[in-house]
Subunit: 189 residues, 2 copies
Amino acid sequence: MSSNLKERILQTASELFYRQGIRATGVDAIVKAAGTTKMSLYHYFPSKNDLVLAHLQKTAEIMREKIVDGIAARASEPKARLLAVFDVFGELLASDGFRGCPFINAATESAAEDEPFRLASVDFYLQFRRRLTDLAEEAEARQPELLARQLSLLISGAIVAEQMQRNSGAMRAARDAAEILINRSLDGV
Amino acid sequence: MSSNLKERILQTASELFYRQGIRATGVDAIVKAAGTTKMSLYHYFPSKNDLVLAHLQKTAEIMREKIVDGIAARASEPKARLLAVFDVFGELLASDGFRGCPFINAATESAAEDEPFRLASVDFYLQFRRRLTDLAEEAEARQPELLARQLSLLISGAIVAEQMQRNSGAMRAARDAAEILINRSLDGV
DNA sequence: AATGATACAGACCGGTCGGTATAGTTGCAA
DNA sequence: TTGCAACTATACCGACCGGTCTGTATCATT
């Protein structure tokens, strides 16, 4: 049985990293918010970087789950499932603590090209696009890869737009555009 | 005539802010790279925040110029000018030092909702969308605001996609999608 | 009663942060 | 030649950074 202190530290760190940014969140702040001590934190996570990495991996898992479940709960037909992705994200963008995509943010905060948690972010992004490609193939799109890439552009764009300005209806506009692109790619309309 | 030391400091700071991030760039690093001293820097810019603000304003002006000139150099017909925007950005994304959109990055780095340089970023974003709306109106799009917003989503999305993975052809895919949306909005095809 | 794991308490390290103070140097104009 | 402004040089400030240190309290197992 894994320690729940470790979980609590990771949970607290995740929230702070997402809310304030990774660089902007000091180890002391995490320790204080989690109600523990530095020694305990460094017992479970050898360095801040390891903690960041754990945060990104956990977040990736949660996000994947939310997306998959959200799609399944909304639609079963291939074409409708492609559109459901936008509804899932629309809900995420509308939630209170929304501060943009954790992975885009992390990639932006990491200066160097090869920083470990930059790779984790890229990884999530590629996996997400892969998932969209699968959906596009199931829907028998004419160019599944192209369609998936375009839909992912719309989603990423809407995320950063909403991060700039809340309640701008960005995801709604993205969904409308997606509908056109999907129809065009499926029926040639 | 304004001092060229001030210009040199601002220029140096701009490069470092963009290349390494704003938070990650210390005042000492700027001073050293510009070959001057802290006292001179603080003579022209009362605080690092003022320097950041000046950097964003200058960058915004340069970007606006590049976009306007780039469009004018490529097309004159309203519809072609809408598409030319994507070619302009395509060139920017392909340039060597590309590290994403300075304004998206700045907005991501600013934790608080009301940080001054977050507002500067939002401002540029809104002005850009406004410019797209003007182009869409000139092209007699049926819903100029909606079309402009959707095109801006594609562009923002392509920027962050390219930031995650270089030479991914994101802007090309965005352009293809844009063509479909534009045609649809103009001719009802 | 002794052991070992878990966690807490808090001082401490070298280094960097943004920003300031004081003093010295240059070059140009009256 | 004097004076003044632009600029340099450098030491310094308190605060914070990530990370390590010694030591102690708790508690279940043996």
